[in-house]
C-alpha cells in the first residue's frame, strides 16, 4: 500500500513537470481541475445522496438503525454521522463526507431487510471505518491528478489547438503533455483501484475491531453478494462514481479482472475476516 502511494506520488510529480513544461495552458487546466476537485470534496455528498434517491432520516423514522449506529460510534469513539436510507431493493450501504464531523452513512431498505442485526452491524461498522479513515478525502485527493490528466486527455485539443491554427510547429510540447497525461491517466487508474482495494481490507478489519464479530461481517458479505447477482444492474447508471464507497460494488456480479476492480474479490475479503476470527479465537 505504501508502495502504491509512492508510485502515485511519483506519477503525479511527472505530470506536474510535464504541465509546467507545456506553459500556460496546463496551468489553466490545473486551476479548473482544482476547482472541480474542491467542489467534489465539499458538495459531492449531497449530490451523491440525491443521485441515490436517499433521504436523511431522524431517530423517530429509523430508531433501530440510529440506535445501532450510536452504539458503534461509542465503541469507535466517533461523532455520530447523519443517517440516510435509500428506498431500493438493492442490498447495499455506503459512507459519504470528507470528515467524521460531516459524514453521512446510508443504508438501503434492501440491506436492512436482508441482513440479521449482527450482520447489519458489521456492515455499518465497515462504513464507519471508512469515515474514521477519511477514505472519501484520501481517495478524492489521491484521484485529483488522475482527474486532471483525464481532463487534459478529454479537452486537450481545445486548449492545445486554440492559439496555433495553421502553425503546428509552435506547439510541440502539447503533444508531449497529451501523451504524458494519457500515461498518467492509465497508470493512476490501476494504482487508484489498488489503493481502493487496500482501503476496503482496512475497513473490513476496522469493522471487525469495532464489533468484535468478523464472522458476522463475512456472513453479511456472502448474503449481499448473492443478492447482488440476482438483482438486475439496469437502474445503476447513476451510481458508477460512488462505487469505491459501497460495501459491495454494484457491478461485481460480472466477471471483472482483479486489476480493474475497486473492491477485492469477496473470497479474499472473507478469507481475511476468517483469519481475524481465528486470531480472536486464539486458534491462529
Amino acid at each position: 500500500m505504501t508502495v502504491t502511494m509512492f508510485l502515485l506520488g511519483l506519477l503525479y510529480v511527472g505530470l506536474v513537470v510535464a504541465l509546467l513544461g507545456s506553459g500556460v495552458n496546463g496551468a489553466t487546466v490545473a486551476i479548473i481541475a482544482g476547482g472541480l476537485a474542491l467542489v467534489n470534496v465539499f458538495a459531492s455528498d449531497k449530490l451523491a445522496l440525491a443521485a441515490m434517491g436517499a433521504r436523511v432520516v431522524t431517530p423517530q423514522q429509523a430508531p433501530q438503525l440510529h440506535a445501532m449506529i450510536e452504539r458503534l460510534c461509542v465503541q469507535a469513539d466517533l461523532p455520530k454521522p447523519k443517517v440516510a436510507v435509500a428506498q431500493t431493493a438493492m442490498p447495499n450501504a455506503f459512507a459519504l463526507g470528507r470528515s467524521p464531523k460531516s459524514a453521512t452513512v446510508c443504508a438501503t431498505t434492501g440491506i436492512m431487510e436482508l441482513l440479521s442485526p449482527a450482520e447489519l452491524e458489521g456492515v455499518l461498522a465497515h462504513e464507519l471505518t471508512h469515515v474514521q479513515n477519511r477514505d472519501v478525502l484520501v481517495m478524492t485527493l489521491a484521484g485529483f491528478f488522475a482527474t486532471l490528466a483525464a481532463y487534459i486527455v478529454q479537452f486537450g485539443f481545445f486548449f492545445g489547438g486554440g492559439s496555433s491554427y495553421g502553425d503546428d510547429d509552435e506547439n510541440p510540447s502539447f503533444l508531449v503533455l497529451f501523451l504524458v497525461s494519457l500515461a498518467v491517466y492509465v497508470i493512476s487508474f490501476f494504482l487508484m483501484q489498488a489503493l481502493s482495494r487496500y482501503r476496503e481490507f482496512s475497513a473490513d478489519r476496522g469493522a471487525a475491531l469495532i464489533t468484535g464479530r468478523p464472522s458476522a461481517l463475512a456472513s453479511a458479505l456472502v448474503k449481499i453478494s448473492g443478492g447482488m447477482q440476482r438483482i438486475p444492474q439496469s437502474d445503476l447508471r447513476a451510481a458508477g462514481r460512488l462505487q469505491a464507497f459501497y460495501i459491495f460494488p454494484p457491478g461485481a456480479g460480472k466477471a471483472i479482472g482483479g486489476l480493474f476492480s475497486t473492491h477485492p474479490p469477496m473470497e479474499k475479503r472473507i478469507a481475511a475476516l476468517q483469519r481475524l476470527e481465528a486470531q480472536l479465537q486464539g486458534t491462529a
Binding site: 440510529h66 465503541q75 469507535a76 461523532p79 455520530k80 484520501v138 464479530r213 480472536l280
Partner: protein, 191 residues
C-alpha cells in the same frame, strides 16, 4: 489520529480512559439526592459486547463469580441480560450507592485486565426524580465522561431541556461530556 495513520487507513480501537472518574459519581450522588431531589434507583449497569470466544467467556464467568462473591458480603445482587443489539447488560442491584460504583469498577477492571477494555460500551446509573420519572447518568469509558439521559415518554423522545439543566446543576462535581452530539441515547434500558 496521526496523519500517517490517515494515509494508511489503520487505527486501533480506542481503549478506556485509565482514570477513576467513575468514582466522581459517588460524591455527585450525594449532591443529587440532597439538592436536586434525584434519588438513586438502587440499580446500575455496565454494558459490553460479549465476544464469542472461549477466552472472553472464561473472563466473564470468573468476573461474575467475583462480583457475586463480593455481593454476598455487601448485599449486591446481579442480573445479566442480553439486549436486542447483542450487547450484554450486567445490572447490579444494591440500595447502597457506594457498593454499586465499586461493583461496576470491579467489572470494568476485570475486563480491562483480560485485555478486553475496548469491548465496554458504557455504564448506566438509574435515578428517579421527585415525580418518579427515570433519569439516567451514562458514563462513556472511552471518553471518561458522564452525560444525562432523560427519556420523555413517547417513542424515542428525550427531554433535552432537563438534560441540559442537569448538566448545569452538576457540572462542578462530575466530568460531563463536552460535545453534545456525543450524548448518545440508550433506548430500552433494562434498569
Amino acid at each position: 489520529m496521526g496523519f500517517f495513520d490517515v494515509l494508511r487507513g489503520k487505527r486501533q480501537l480506542k481503549k478506556p480512559v485509565p482514570t477513576d472518574r467513575l468514582f466522581a459519581m459517588s460524591t455527585a450522588q450525594v449532591t443529587m439526592e440532597l439538592e436536586l431531589e434525584l434519588k438513586s434507583d438502587g440499580k446500575a449497569g455496565i454494558v459490553f459486547q460479549p465476544l464469542a470466544t472461549a477466552d472472553f467467556e472464561g473472563i466473564v464467568r470468573d468476573m461474575e463469580e467475583v462480583v457475586r462473591g463480593a455481593g454476598s458480603d455487601t448485599g449486591t445482587t446481579i442480573e445479566i441480560t442480553d439486549d436486542d443489539f447483542g450487547y450484554r447488560w450486567m445490572v447490579l442491584v444494591d440500595p447502597d450507592f457506594e457498593d454499586l460504583v465499586v461493583g461496576l469498577n470491579a467489572v470494568s477492571t476485570a475486563l480491562e485486565a483480560g485485555g478486553y477494555g475496548d469491548r465496554i460500551l458504557c455504564a448506566v446509573f438509574a435515578f428517579r426524580d421527585s415525580a418518579g420519572k427515570p433519569v439516567y447518568w451514562i458514563y462513556n469509558y472511552k471518553r471518561g465522561a458522564f452525560y444525562p439521559f432523560v427519556p420523555a415518554g413517547g417513542a424515542q423522545q428525550r427531554d433535552n431541556e432537563r438534560e441540559l439543566r442537569l448538566k448545569a446543576q452538576i457540572a462542578a462535581e462530575l466530568p460531563i461530556e463536552a460535545e453534545l452530539e456525543r450524548w448518545f441515547p440508550l433506548w430500552g434500558i433494562p434498569i
